[in-house]
């Protein structure tokens, strides 16, 4: 029998039609929907008199636009329309919706796994590029555009060219103070923002195996920032145990049966990949970005580079432009850069373990006076769990704001905006120009590094703060 990767196994299980000279037609097991990328798709269905083929495999929530304080005051009338439109569309087409008042509401990539909708071996799509998050379960999960959303709603399938496979092997054990976010930032800094273009990535190696499901989600979440539409981790016992007892997961005997099938999906020993890249954890210290794409970053002990460090003219130009936008001088130590805002949240880092890591740093310390710091749990469930553990009190006592769940300052589509020229330590995934507000300057970091920046008022190597034990 030929040895196969998890990617190939899932792919072959979902081919509906294969013809020479065409992409494969793949069946989709789970379609997640949110308010921003779906209205035009539903409108398309209506215009053509089409229905949703599998409402039972479709699940919707609202996250991008929702307010995180004063939950019911949506100041922007257009945001309001978008949320209303999703409600109507779900009603009209019979789709289950966790709307703003629902106890399951949250960021689409946080609630899918939490509810047990996300399972190994599934094909999962959503009109959102960070759908790669669900790959942590050994699912083939990728973001699609609105035309494709409409296509999946109407046919429950999608045309896809079989991707090439890329193995990213993370060797060694994680060092003290190093989090999953640092691994993925280091990978992107090392291999670049298009290392994965045209590929599906599988993360392998000792370091990955030892991670919890939430940590794996952080890593797969940012595969797209390395250019790969999907990134995944082979299912193992950690995966199975996470799913046991979740509401939408199989129950009882069915679960044991499913678990066997899931474990069998893991990449076969010796399976071949089109390309393999390796990174050693010894190279990875807590990371921070200094530029305007996620590859423009380095370990916290580094300095802001000079455009002259780069070989190609296009890169020199991008770096020059980035430093100008970020208001940074070459040669400045990263730990000398001050912060004005701190955002702990987003589908990358808003789960319970992320909040715990940040709270550990915040505990008994105070956010500097000139810093505005907000914590936005990824879902209502995460919020409740955190409150049950008293994390909210730790944050509030330290001077952080404790908010309702949503995408919030990750893309600043609601009222959570970083003002022009202000600098934000953010646990999100994109430091693009204007992402957190027009003229806002974003530095991507892990939750504990973000909390450290808040209490120190500047970027800080979290390993230097006393009492932090990870």
């Amino acid at each position: 029998m030929t040895k196969k990767t998890v990617i190939e196994k899932i792919w072959e299980n979902h081919v509906v039609s294969r013809e020479e000279g065409k992409p494969d037609l793949l069946y989709i097991d789970l379609h997640l929907v949110h308010e921003v990328t779906s209205p035009q798709a539903f409108e398309g269905l209506r215009m053509n008199g089409r229905r949703v083929r599998r409402p039972d495999l479709t699940y919707a929530t609202m996250d991008h636009n929702v307010p995180t304080i004063n939950r019911h005051i949506v100041n922007d009338p257009i945001s309001k329309t978008q949320m209303e439109t999703l409600k109507q569309n779900c009603r009209e087409f019979g789709i289950e919706l966790a709307d703003i008042d629902h106890p399951d509401q949250g960021i689409v990539h946080v609630i899918g796994p939490q509810l047990g909708l996300t399972q190994p071996g599934k094909t999962i799509v959503c009109g959102d590029s960070h759908t790669s998050t669900h790959g942590a379960f050994g699912a083939l999960a990728f973001g699609i555009g609105t035309s494709e959303v409409e296509h999946v709603l109407a046919t429950q399938t999608i045309w896809q060219k079989k991707p090439k496979t890329l193995q990213i092997k993370v060797n060694g054990k994680l060092g003290f103070g190093v989090q999953a976010k640092d691994i993925i930032l280091a990978i992107i800094a090392k291999f670049g923002v298009n290392a994965g273009t045209g590929y599906v990535m599988e993360f392998t190696g000792e370091a990955i195996r030892s991670l919890s499901m939430e940590e794996r989600m952080t890593i797969c979440n940012m595969s797209i920032e390395a250019g790969a539409r999907a990134g995944l981790v082979s299912p193992d016992v950690t995966t199975v145990e996470y799913l046991r007892g979740r509401r939408y997961a199989p129950q009882g005997e069915e679960f044991e049966k499913a678990a066997k099938t899931w474990l069998a999906l893991a990449s076969d020993e010796g399976a071949e990949y089109d390309k393999t890249l390796e990174i050693d954890t010894a190279e990875i210290e807590p990371q921070m970005t200094w530029g305007t794409n996620p590859s423009m970053g380095s370990g916290i002990s580094g300095v802001v580079p000079s455009p002259d460090n780069f070989e190609r003219e296009a890169d020199k130009e991008s770096v020059r432009h980035a430093l100008e936008y970020m208001g940074l001088e070459s040669g400045t130590k990263l730990t000398e850069i001050p912060v004005d805002y701190v955002f702990i949240g987003s589908c990358t880092n808003s789960r319970l373990s992320d909040l715990r890591a940040a709270a550990e740093v915040a505990k008994g310390r105070k956010v500097q006076d000139h810093v505005t710091a907000i914590v936005v749990p990824g879902s209502q469930t995460v919020k409740q769990q955190a409150e049950a553990e008293g994390l909210d009190q730790i944050f509030i006592n330290a001077g952080f704001e404790w908010r309702e769940s949503g995408c919030s300052m990750c893309l600043a589509m609601n009222d959570d905006i970083v003002p022009p020229g202000k600098r934000c330590a953010s646990t999100s995934n994109r430091n693009f120009e204007g992402r957190q507000g027009s003229g806002a300057r974003t530095h991507l970091v892990s939750p504990s590094m973000a909390a450290a920046a808040a209490v120190m008022g500047r970027f800080t190597d979290v390993r230097e703060l006393a009492g932090v034990n990870q």
């Binding site: 035309s147 109407a154 273009t197 250019g227 022009p420």
Partner: protein, 199 residues
């Protein structure tokens, strides 16, 4: 979508790599629930300052380039978010063809599905075109059937494109209709895997 085969248009160069979809259309404009009308917001933060005034130094604000129909840019064009608003905005502004050394996967798919031809040329060819097109009024001829890009002074380049995408673009097909012609296969798959009929 509109079919596309032979196309001639004036060219606008934006010499940057990794132009992301947040730049092509900033998120404050994603809230509309229609597909049309996004062109006015394309590259908004590069075209306008915080007070909404035109930035003189951005090329699309130069009247000699403002009506361009072909965009030439650096590698990894369209990276970032999956927002289809990016190709909608480019198309609505008037760009029918983009030329770059490489594209982000989701953006490329989204473009084809809206009838935008995203041409991949080599780094050197793109470099040449970036230089040539810095002169206002520079025109390129695109021929999709032949898979070629040429100008009036001897530049000619061949590009590769997946035969399936090529057919979709040449015919301007609606993909859902194409798929529904294979509905019996979808039904067979559902019976086999889900043990049930859904249509």
């Amino acid at each position: 979508m509109e079919p596309i085969n032979q196309f001639t248009g004036t060219v606008c160069p934006i010499n940057r790599a990794n132009i992301d979809t947040d730049q092509i259309i900033p998120k404050q404009f994603l809230k509309r629930i229609e597909r049309q009308g996004f062109g006015q917001f394309v590259f908004y933060n590069w075209r306008f300052d915080d007070d909404g005034n035109k930035r003189e130094d951005f090329i699309l604000n130069d009247p000699q380039f403002a009506d361009s129909e072909i965009l030439v840019a650096g590698e990894n064009f369209g990276c970032g978010s999956s927002r289809e608003h990016a190709p909608w905005a480019l198309l609505d502004y008037g760009f029918r063809v983009i030329i770059a050394p490489s594209y982000a996967d989701i953006f490329y798919n989204n473009s084809v599905k809206n009838g935008i031809l995203a041409v991949k040329l080599t780094d050197e060819e793109v470099e040449t075109l970036l230089q040539k097109s810095s002169t206002p009024g520079f025109k390129l001829h695109i021929n999709l059937e032949e898979q070629s890009v040429s100008d009036d002074s001897g530049f000619k380049a061949h590009f590769d494109i997946d035969p399936y995408w090529k057919k979709m673009l040449l015919n301007g097909w609606d993909e859902i209709s194409v798929t529904l012609t294979a509905e019996d296969r979808i039904r067979q798959f559902e019976e086999r895997v889900y043990g049930k009929q859904y249509s």
